[in-house]
Every structure is written in structure tokens, then in C-alpha cells.
């Protein structure tokens, strides 16, 4: 009986175009869109040289430090290239800036470098910072050379070279504790969480089928000599199978095709998806039996729960930490929040403690949803149908 119902439930689910779209197609479409939209963000530690101009007036030509520095930083062949530089006169530089051909330009006046930009942005900050560094390094060399030479004398070439050596060899002792991290992965984690939430929609549909007060097919099931628990559990099992299959495909697609990074081993990743979709299915079952409205209204509730959950969990622009600080409990009880945080901790934390807390919470809320749902299911005769 279990397998008979399971087989047919699976068949009807797979034949239902809208369910297949939401559980199988939609997460993939979103994953591809995310990947396109966040492609640049994806490798944001790769610095791309940008366009600038340097005004090659007399002062620039005379200033050895600046000339050498900007020539080096603009060298196409160097790994340290920062700029794609045009050396032009002042008017041309202004014109290039007006036409948005360059991010900004540098000119030297009164022995001081000046940076001119149109609007503030990251590249402009880089340009300013680099120019400042060149200028300060030059000052430093000058100062050190003067000290070495004693205050009275003009430093010799040799002293300058020594001073430059001191400056270039001055390397502070910094110990960097580096850690893999890329905020964009959160978008993909919330996407998996949202895909898990499709389980709620599946289970609303499957539960409705079994309940005589919700559908005519439910009446048929109710008068058959089969336990309601058997039909319901086999139906939900079929939905769960379909969902897990689609989640595994989604995770593999993200990992292998889109190259999204996950921490931990594949079993922990799948286990979390399994627990997450279980909680979603239990939530759907609870909503289905507890809400006394039609199927359309129930689905709207499901959509709201999963959308608001996704928002809090960081989809639509990574606001997770904002909400974590403002309303910390929401992500502690919302399945979407727990799933996302589980993947996050697997990716970012070295120990598995936080992952298992999330996993455990998911199982606990699944159990709570299940108990609440079965309690109202026990009353199996109805006042009206």
C-alpha cells in the first residue's frame, strides 16, 4: 500500500507542471542568474588595472620618483600593474575625465601631487592611495638621506641609494590570519534554502490530497480501508524524494558547473539539505491542516514564509547580519535562516559545532511541526466538509 501510493504520488508530482517548475526548474534558473550577476563579485580579489591619465608637464618630467613609480605601475608586462595610463597634457586629461574615459588623473604642481576625479569610488580611492604612497615614500627617502648625511651637507648619490635601500627593505612584521571568505556564497546558500522551502508547497499539496475536508480526492482516500498515516506518509515520502533529488542536482550543479564553494564534505552538505527540506515539508503539513482556508491562500502563506525567511537569511542583497543584529531570533527559528547559517558555518568555521547546532535546530523544529500537525490530524471526523 505504501509503495502503491508512493509510486502514484511521485508520478502525479512529476506530471504537475507547476510543481516541477518551482521545485526543479526555478532554483536552477535563479542559480544561473546569480552566477551571471555575481560573476565579477565572485573573483573580487582579482584586481583589474583601470584607466587613468598622468599629466606629463615639466614638473612631472623632473620628478624622478613619480616618473619611475608611475611607469612601473603602468607596465603591461608587470604582475603589479595597477593602471592603464595615458601620459597627456592637462587639457587632454580634463577632457578624458569629462568623457568618462578615465577614472581620474594625477598632476604635479608646486612639487606636490594632486589627484583629480569626477566622483568618489573604489578605483579613485586606489589612485589617491597609491599617489600618496609614492609621495610619502619619496619624502621618507629624502628624510632618511638627510639624516644619514648629517644636517649640514647635501646627501650624495650613494647616500640616496642607501636611503632607498632602507625604505624598500623596511618590511613590518605582520602576521596575517587569512581565511577563505566570499560573501557572495551566501546568496547561493539562501538559494538552496529557498529550494528546500519548496518542500512546504509540495507537502501542502500532498496533505490536501489526503484530507476529506480539503479536497474531493481526500474524501476518496478517507473512505478507503487504508490508514491515513500510511497514505499521508507515503505521499510525503514521494515529495521528499523528488525534492532531495532536485536539491542534490542543484548542489552538484552549483559546485561543479558554477564553481560555488562549499566547505565540509559532500555528505554534510546533503545532510543539511535533507534536514532543511524535512522541516519545510513538516511546515507545509502543519500549514495545510492548521489553516482553515483554501489551497491558494495556503500557498500564499508558504510563499510569504519562504520569501521573508530568504530576505532575513540574506538573499536579495546579503542583509543577514543586519537582521541577525536587529531580530536575532528570526534566523534561529526560520528554516531558511538555519539552512543558510548551516552552510555558512560549514564554509567559514573550522569546527563543526555551529553546523550541528543548526542541523539539530532544523530537526527539532521539524519534530515540533510534525507533532502539532498530527495533533490536529487525529480528529479525523469533521464538523463539515
Amino acid at each position: 500500500m505504501f509503495w502503491h501510493n508512493y509510486k502514484y504520488a511521485l508520478r502525479t508530482l512529476l506530471k504537475s507542471k507547476s510543481l516541477v517548475f518551482w521545485t526543479l526548474a526555478f532554483p536552477f534558473i535563479l542559480a544561473i542568474l546569480f552566477n551571471l550577476a555575481f560573476a565579477r563579485l565572485h573573483d573580487y580579489d582579482v584586481f583589474e588595472p583601470f584607466n587613468i591619465a598622468v599629466v606629463n608637464n615639466d614638473e612631472f618630467e623632473k620628478n624622478v620618483a613619480f616618473k619611475t613609480a608611475f611607469n612601473t605601475l603602468s607596465d603591461d608586462d608587470s604582475d603589479e600593474q595597477l593602471f592603464k595610463t595615458q601620459f597627456v597634457d592637462m587639457d587632454e586629461a580634463e577632457r578624458l575625465l569629462d568623457d568618462d574615459k578615465i577614472e581620474g588623473f594625477v598632476y604635479i604642481a608646486d612639487a606636490q601631487p594632486h589627484v583629480k576625479i569626477k566622483t568618489n569610488g573604489t578605483n579613485q580611492t586606489v589612485l589617491k592611495s597609491v599617489t600618496e604612497q609614492v609621495s610619502q615614500t619619496a619624502t621618507m627617502v629624502e628624510e632618511i638621506a638627510k639624516s644619514e648625511a648629517g644636517n649640514s651637507e647635501q646627501p650624495t648619490m650613494q647616500i640616496y641609494l642607501n636611503a632607498m635601500k632602507i625604505v624598500s627593505e623596511a618590511e613590518p612584521n605582520i602576521k596575517e590570519d587569512s581565511h577563505v571568505m566570499n560573501m557572495v556564497v551566501i546568496e547561493f546558500y539562501t538559494l538552496i534554502a529557498m529550494a528546500c522551502m519548496q518542500g512546504a508547497m509540495l507537502s501542502v499539496e500532498l496533505t490536501n490530497r489526503c484530507l476529506p475536508n480539503l479536497s474531493n480526492r481526500g474524501k476518496r482516500v478517507a473512505i478507503a480501508p487504508t490508514r491515513k498515516s500510511t497514505t499521508l506518509s507515503s505521499g510525503l515520502a514521494a515529495g521528499y524524494t523528488m525534492l532531495l533529488f532536485s536539491l542534490c542536482a542543484l548542489i552538484l550543479f552549483m559546485r561543479l558547473v558554477l564553481g560555488v564553494e562549499f566547505g565540509g564534505n559532500i555528505w554534510l552538505i546533503v545532510l543539511l539539505a535533507a534536514a532543511g527540506s524535512l522541516s519545510a515539508m513538516m511546515l507545509g503539513m502543519l500549514l495545510s491542516v492548521a489553516l482553515k482556508t483554501n489551497e491558494g491562500a495556503k500557498n500564499i502563506v508558504v510563499v510569504i514564509v519562504s520569501m521573508v525567511g530568504s530576505l532575513f537569511a540574506g538573499m536579495f542583497g546579503g542583509m543577514k547580519i543586519y537582521f541577525d543584529n536587529m531580530l536575532p531570533f528570526v534566523n534561529k527559528i526560520s528554516p531558511v535562516g538555519l539552512i543558510t547559517d548551516g552552510y555558512y558555518s560549514l564554509y567559514y568555521y573550522n569546527d563543526l559545532g555551529r553546523y550541528f547546532v543548526n542541523l539539530g535546530s532544523l530537526l527539532i523544529i521539524s519534530a515540533i511541526f510534525f507533532i502539532l500537525a498530527t495533533r490536529s490530524l487525529r480528529r479525523s471526523r469533521y464538523d463539515s466538509i
Partner: protein
């Protein structure tokens, strides 16, 4: 004959509204029982109570001698129900639907395949078995709905208005099918508001109104209640009041009415009423164009008992 269903003092209300009011009935093995009544008379509610789908306020229901309950699976296994609304999966074919619902009763695959084929044959859907419900016309969809309800060869079958909005051809097919099920040994409870169907199909009829049984018996027994033996209708172009009052003096005449050139004469009893009527018309030289006699219908019974028409 054994009683398959015994309902005693069933009462069920929706808020203030009494849907079923102290209703008792029995259904005997092998019969087709018609539950007749206008919309809202409590037919479907009674059925749902018997099936343990609905809570009820008071009363006792037993089926096959046992008390009915939601988990009385041994009883449920012998019951088949055809609901008023079509309840099938759009995603499954005709065959798939019947097989699915039959599978809730019959585990063995070979038996089930045989049962499904029998059901397809019974409702005449053999040629449509690979079609999807969306491709079926209204009548064929109703037949599928029936097949889904009875494929597991139940001993007791409930049919709730299975012929609503069905074309005549499908209706005949359905009625034939039901008779065949009875001939194969099933007990059938047939709910409808079409009195013609009840008259041709049912062995025994219960007439419901406002949740109460107002009459019960075979067709003939019920018609006896109508206190009418025969209605004679005559088309007469012209009648004077004097001529009209003359009809009332004919033997056995209970009532006379004349409207728009149609004369209706109701006879309470007697055998040769039509002949006497013709004789009377001849002897009084009244010209008529058409004359015919009718037996009373269940509508007349209902009219007699409640003062309103069944069809409203």
C-alpha cells in the same frame, strides 16, 4: 434478507441549521435504495455521516452489523463511493486513476489489473483508457469518476448524484452499469433528485425533506400515497362552466381543472377511467383533439406530502 446498513436516530446540524433530523433507515442486502429529495434535503450529509466522514450530534450507525468508525478498515474495504464532485488526478490517465484508487483497496497487482479492466468495461471507457481527464467530455468524466469509486468490486456502493449534468447517452450507460452491479450482488444506495431515475432503477425509495424521512417504500407503495390512480388529460378548445362542473360527477373523479384549453381530470381509484371519460365526452358531444392517461409520478407523491414540487 439481512440489513446491510442500520441507521438509528441520526441527527446532525450545521450551527443552527438541522441538516439531518432524527433519521432512521435500513438498507437490505442486494437492493437498490433510492434517496430522493430536493437539493439541501440532507441526502449527502446523511451519506457522509454513514461513511464516518462527518461528526454527527446523535444517533447510531452500523454497517454489516458493526459500528462504523473512521478506522473500521474491514468495513471500509467493502464499500465503494461515487461522490457528486469529480475527484480524479488530472496528471494521471484514465487507467492510472482507476488503478490508483483501486490500489487503495486491492494490493495484489494481477487482481487489480483484472478489476481495472472490468471497471473500464462497465462504464464503457475501454477506448479512452490512455487519455487524460482533461481530454474527456463531461459525461465520460462522470463515468471515470464512477469507475474510480467501484473498481474494487465493493459489496456496498454509495452513488451521490452520479448523473448530474450528464448527456442522455452517458446517463443510460451509467444506469445500465448500476443495474449490472446490483445483479452482481452489490447493495446500492442511490442519491438523486431525478425521480425518473429512481422510478426505473430503485427497488425501494426513501424521500427526504429538511433532513427528515417523509415517505418510504417501493415505487408502488409510494404512489399509493399520492391518492391518485390516474390522471387524464384532454385537449378541449371550448368548455362552458356548466360542462366543466359536469366532469366532477363522473365516477371516481377527485379533481378537475381547466386552463388554456387543457382539461385535467384526476381519478382517485378505478380501472376503466379512460374509457369512462371518452364515453362521457362522446355522450355530451364535447369535441376534443387529444386525450391520454398517466400514472402518478413520485413528483405527485412529493407534491401531495409537502405541497411543493420536487424539482424546485
Amino acid at each position: 434478507m439481512k440489513n446491510v446498513i442500520e441507521v438509528k436516530h441520526l441527527t446532525k446540524s450545521y450551527k443552527q441549521n438541522k441538516a439531518v433530523d432524527d433519521l432512521s433507515l435500513t438498507v437490505k442486502e442486494g437492493e437498490i435504495l433510492g434517496l430522493l429529495g430536493p437539493n439541501g434535503s440532507g441526502k449527502t450529509t446523511t451519506m457522509n455521516c454513514i461513511l464516518a466522514l462527518l461528526k454527527f450530534d446523535d444517533g447510531k450507525i452500523s454497517i454489516f452489523g458493526k459500528e462504523m468508525a473512521p478506522d473500521a478498515y474491514d468495513i471500509k474495504a467493502k464499500i465503494g463511493v461515487v461522490f457528486q464532485e469529480v475527484a480524479v488526478f488530472d496528471e494521471l490517465t484514465v487507467y492510472g486513476n482507476i488503478d490508483y484508487f483501486c490500489g487503495l483497496y486491492v494490493e495484489d497487482k494481477a487482481t487489480r489489473a483484472q478489476y481495472v479492466d472490468d471497471a473500464l468495461k462497465l462504464v464503457g471507457l475501454e477506448d479512452n483508457k490512455n487519455q487524460y481527464p482533461k481530454q474527456l467530455s463531461g459525461g465520460l468524466l462522470r463515468r471515470l469518476n464512477i469507475a474510480c469509486g467501484i473498481a474494487h468490486k465493493p459489496k456496498l456502493i454509495f452513488l451521490d448524484e452520479p448523473t448530474v449534468a450528464v448527456d442522455p447517452q452517458s446517463r443510460n450507460n451509467i444506469l445500465e452499469g448500476i443495474k449490472k452491479l446490483r445483479d452482481d450482488g452489490a447493495t446500492i444506495i442511490y442519491t438523486t433528485h431525478y425521480m425518473e431515475e429512481v422510478e426505473i432503477l430503485c427497488d425501494r425509495v426513501i424521500i427526504l425533506d429538511h433532513g427528515k424521512i417523509i415517505a418510504e417504500g417501493t415505487n408502488d407503495e409510494l404512489k399509493a400515497l399520492a391518492k391518485i390512480e390516474e390522471k387524464v388529460t384532454v385537449e378541449v378548445a371550448d368548455l362552458s362552466p356548466k360542462q366543466l362542473s359536469g366532469f366532477e360527477k363522473i365516477k371516481n373523479v377527485d379533481a378537475v381543472s381547466y386552463e388554456d384549453g387543457v382539461l385535467k381530470v384526476v381519478f382517485g381509484k378505478g380501472k376503466n377511467n379512460l374509457a369512462e371519460m371518452i364515453e362521457y365526452l362522446k355522450s355530451n358531444r364535447i369535441n376534443y383533439s387529444r386525450i391520454f392517461a398517466e400514472r402518478p409520478t413520485l413528483n405527485d407523491v412529493f407534491l401531495e406530502l409537502t405541497g411543493k414540487e420536487l424539482r424546485d
